[in-house]
């Protein structure tokens, strides 16, 4: 849940912050992992190298140590084979021996050089000539030599023996412990025994019989020859910031008896003891120890290995150590370099990121601005971005969208105005259609009514006609009533005609259509009319349209319509005039039009609407059904009949018949 919240908050951050935070997170994680792993790896490598070196150095130190021991052994063996010494030993000539051995001891710088007879009794101690005659056959070294071996090794020498063997030796060996916190506690507070490199060899007479033993050695306590030599050979006296890089130490058991490790005051740090860990590993378990260790007052990379006596027991430790500081410094430098590079990368990355995000954010901001402008109705927006990348494409699309929006808006506005116009036009058309519909309906209902009326009137008319005639038959022609009855009969006949007209008008019979030439129909109708009285002073002008298509009509009914229109025109021109009859194809070529134009009295505007209604007539005579019937016929043909008129100048009737039914 909290993670979700954090994530949500993160998503709400500005784009740039999001980018930078994400990148920083990745960089930090990567950096930390790299530095941690790198440091550890590098540490292992450097320290590993150092440890390998120190292990090698320890081997070198051991070589120096062993070399010293071998020298002593070689020197002892050499002296055991000297004729003068053999002779003096055989003769027990202490004076001569004293001379030879004294010189030899001084020359070779041995701490002790002693000679015994074949039973192990001391003949002469070159370092202490006054102490002689004691039996040393129990001494393991002497014992081995007496058995014919040349032997060398390290030995712990008790204080009494030191006192016996040489002057000042016991004093050199005596060391008080300097308190060491990590050391294994010991009951004693000082050391009085010493540790010696010793060698022994038998002395034989001319027959090879062992006549004595010669042995010698050097006391290691406070003797710095070996350790300094190790430092000299292995580390060549290198220093780091005023400190010795390499150190070497010889321990007697856990006690430093010979070293070049300096204490705080710059003195050789003898008298201190080894730590518990090393004590346990090397002195007790006899294993070499290689690790970093805090020696006296510095960290060292150290190597320890046990020193055995002739009997194979661990009696001391050989140590070499390298100051750790140079390696640590090296490691730190590498680490610092790493960190510096990482920091530089971060800065570089952030800079690049800043520019990249800028290149994204700037166009986005301008698009947001433009979008807001558009939303507020400012459609004239363009974003200027020339990149070819996704942002550039977006900007391009945006511009296109804005452009289209503008165009669409313009169209919409234009459309709005044209729509108004069209609505007006349509309304007008609708009004016209409605008018014509009303006219049709009026006709239809009038037709029905007429049919009903006609039928109902027929019966009474029949009775009137019959009875009038019956009365006429009974009346003398000279009688006044004859005339009256004749009038009744005539008027009844007229009624009959009106009824017939009404029925004609209301007849629902479908027209009997066949193809016909409209001009021929006009011609035939005119032929019938020519002899009508109304036409006597009328001039007829025919303007038949050429190559009109034949159309499907009921010829008789159309003829009836033309008849009605021509008679009407003639009657509108009682003083004579011109009737023009034209035919033509309509502009859209869907209709054949016949136009009747007269130069008559015209029709008042208020009559135009009622002109086609049944029984509407302005003439004294006539049924008023002619135009109504004509209207019905043309309508049955899906055609139209229209009239225009100018009172005093004439009227124009146009009949439109569809080309296809």
């Amino acid at each position: 849940m909290p993670f979700k919240k954090i994530f949500k908050r993160f998503l709400n951050l500005p784009l740039r912050a999001k980018f930078i935070l994400s990148f920083l997170a990745v960089i930090c994680f990567g950096g930390i992992v790299t530095i941690t792993l790198g440091t550890r790896l590098e540490h292992q490598t450097i320290i590993g190298l150092a440890q390998a070196k120190v292990r090698h150095d320890l081997a070198s130190a051991r070589m120096v140590y062993d070399e010293k021991l071998n020298h002593i052994r070689d020197f002892i063996r050499f002296n055991s084979t000297r004729d003068a010494i053999q002779e003096a030993t055989k003769n027990q000539d202490r004076v001569a021996l004293s001379r030879y051995l004294g010189r030899a001891r001084t020359e070779f710088n041995l701490d002790i050089l002693t000679l015994t007879d074949s039973r192990g009794k001391v003949i002469l101690r070159a370092a202490r000539p006054e102490n002689w005659g004691d039996d040393l056959s129990a001494n393991p070294l002497v014992a081995k030599a007496l058995s014919g071996e040349i032997i060398a090794g390290t030995q712990i020498i008790p204080r009494e023996e030191l006192l016996k063997e040489g002057e000042g030796l016991a004093d050199r060996a005596y060391l008080e412990f300097i308190p060491t916190p990590k050391a294994v506690p010991r009951e004693e507070d000082h050391e009085e025994d010493g540790m010696m490199l010793k060698a022994a060899a038998p002395i034989r007479d001319g027959y090879g019989t062992i006549i004595g033993v010669i042995y010698g050695g050097i006391l290691l306590n406070q003797n710095y020859e070996i350790v300094d030599r190790v430092k000299e050979i292995v580390y060549k006296g290198e220093k780091y910031k005023g400190r010795e890089i390499g150190t070497a130490t010889i321990f007697q058991k856990d006690l430093r008896i010979s070293t070049n490790v300096k204490d705080a005051s710059g003195e050789r740090a003898i008298g201190t003891r080894i730590s518990r860990e090393v004590h346990q590993a090397v002195l007790i378990q006899g294993e070499p120890w290689i690790d970093r260790a805090f020696v006296v007052n510095d960290w060292y990379i150290t190597a320890y290995e046990p020193i055995h006596n002739i009997g194979g027991n661990i009696i001391g430790i050989l140590y070499v150590g390298m100051l750790e500081k140079p390696y640590i410094d090296l490691r730190n430098r590498v680490m610092l370099t790493f960190a510096g590079m990482a920091a530089l990368s971060v800065v570089l990355l952030l800079t690049i990121l800043f520019f990249i995000t800028s290149s994204i954010i700037h166009p986005l901001k301008s698009m947001v601005f433009a979008t807001n402008q558009i939303a507020q109705g400012e459609l004239n927006q363009k974003v200027n971005i020339d990149f070819k990348d996704e942002i550039g494409q977006l900007a391009h699309s945006f511009n296109q969208m804005a452009e289209n929006l503008k165009k669409a808006n313009e169209k919409l506005i234009q459309w709005g105005t044209t729509l108004e116009k069209r609505v007006e036009e349509r309304t007008k058309e609708l009004q016209e259609m409605q008018d014509s519909l009303i006219q049709s309906e009026k006709m239809a209902s009038l037709g029905k009514m007429s049919a009903g009326v006609a039928h109902e009137i027929n019966n009474p008319l029949t009775s009137i006609l019959i009875n009038t005639h019956l009365m006429l038959e009974k009346t003398e022609k000279t009688h006044l009533f004859h005339e009256y009855l004749s009038l009744i009969a005539d008027e009844t006949i007229r009624c009959t005609n009106i009824v017939k007209g009404l029925l004609e008008f209301s007849r629902q019979n479908p027209p009997q259509k066949s193809y016909a030439d409209i001009n021929e129909i006009i011609r035939q109708t005119l032929q019938l009319l020519e002899h009508q009285a109304a036409f006597h002073n009328i001039r007829v002008a025919r303007k038949p349209g050429e190559s009109l298509p034949q159309i499907k009509v009921d010829k008789d009914k159309i003829k009836q319509v033309f008849w009605n229109l021509m008679i009407n025109a003639a009657e509108a021109m009682p003083k004579g005039g011109t009737l023009t009859i034209a035919s033509r194809l309509s502009e859209d070529e869907n209709f054949v039009e016949v136009i009747f134009t007269d130069t008559g009295v015209g029709i008042p505007a208020e009559y135009l609407n009622k002109l086609f209604d049944p029984f509407f007539t302005t003439k004294g005579s006539g049924t008023g059904l002619g135009l109504a019937v004509s209207y019905g016929i043309i309508e049955q043909h899906q055609g139209k009949i229209e009239v225009r008129s100018e009172p005093g100048r004439g009227s124009v009737f146009t009949v439109r018949l569809p080309r296809k039914d």
């Binding site: 049919a451 039928h455 019966n459 008319l461 009824v499 007849r507």
Partner: protein, 258 residues
């Protein structure tokens, strides 16, 4: 003539005034005239009296004129019926002739027009009574479409038809004194008057056209010699030729001779 021998006429119309008027128009010493106000009443009366002529309106509530005609013709095929029609039922009138009506007369009409018809009916009855002894001189040729006892129509090659009068129409007509023929280019409608024969008794016998159309040619020979009508009614005695406008529909109302 005693009552028994007198011709009996029944007038049927749902309007009493019309009934009375028609009765007045044809009332004479030579026949009796009864009236009935409905088809039902007419049938009942006919059961009793067996009328020679029944004049009935077509449009009546209850049993219509056409139903009455059918029922009568089933019972007594020899009965003569004249249908009185309003204008809108002209098709029905033509139909009624096909069923067996003697003739029809559109409303309104004058007494003379009706009397001519009635006289034709009676003359026909008389001639039939004579003809029972001698056969009809001329038989109608096959392939003519005709209205029984009225006019015939002959389909020529092409679109034209020839119209003439059937012999039965002329039987009840007296000596022909005048023949009125239509004019060329006149329009005539099926069932409406297209020609008229006036006889010596001054009866005007109206001839109904068997089809609707335009007159193309009139038989001018007839004008000088009315006898052609009787001598050769299906040949030289033709009346006129016309261009029919709705022949297919018109033929449905006619009978084809064999």
């Amino acid at each position: 003539m005693n009552d028994e021998a007198m011709r009996k006429i029944l007038v049927v119309d749902d309007e009493i005034t019309v009934c009375k008027s028609i009765r007045n128009a044809i009332l004479s010493d030579e026949h009796t005239v009864d009236t009935a106000l409905s088809g039902e009443e007419a049938l009942k009366k006919d059961e009793e009296k067996c009328y020679d002529l029944i004049i009935t309106d077509l449009m009546m509530p209850g049993i219509s004129g056409l139903d009455l005609l059918k029922t009568l013709k089933q019972k007594r095929p020899e009965v003569n019926v004249i249908m009185v029609t309003g204008y809108p039922t002209i098709k029905t009138a033509v139909q009624s002739i096909k069923i067996g009506a003697f003739d029809y007369i559109p409303k309104p009409f004058t007494p003379d027009q009706l009397r001519s018809l009635v006289s034709r009916v009676f003359k026909k009855i008389e001639s039939e009574e004579k003809a029972a002894k001698k056969p009809s001189p001329q038989k109608m040729p096959a392939g003519l479409h005709y209205m029984i006892g009225h006019t015939w129509l002959h389909k020529e090659n092409g679109e034209l038809v020839t119209i003439g009068v059937v012999q039965d129409f002329l039987k009840p007509v007296g000596i022909i004194t005048h023949l009125t023929l239509p004019q060329v280019s006149d329009s005539v409608n099926q069932g409406e008057e297209c020609a008229r024969i006036t006889d010596a008794d001054l009866f005007n016998h109206r001839i109904w056209s068997p089809a609707t159309g335009r007159i193309i040619e009139v038989n001018e020979k007839l004008r000088g010699d009315f006898t052609l009508l009787r001598k050769d009614p299906y040949g030289e005695g033709w009346l006129f030729r016309m261009e029919p406008t709705n022949l297919e529909e018109d033929l449905k109302g006619l009978i084809l001779s064999d």
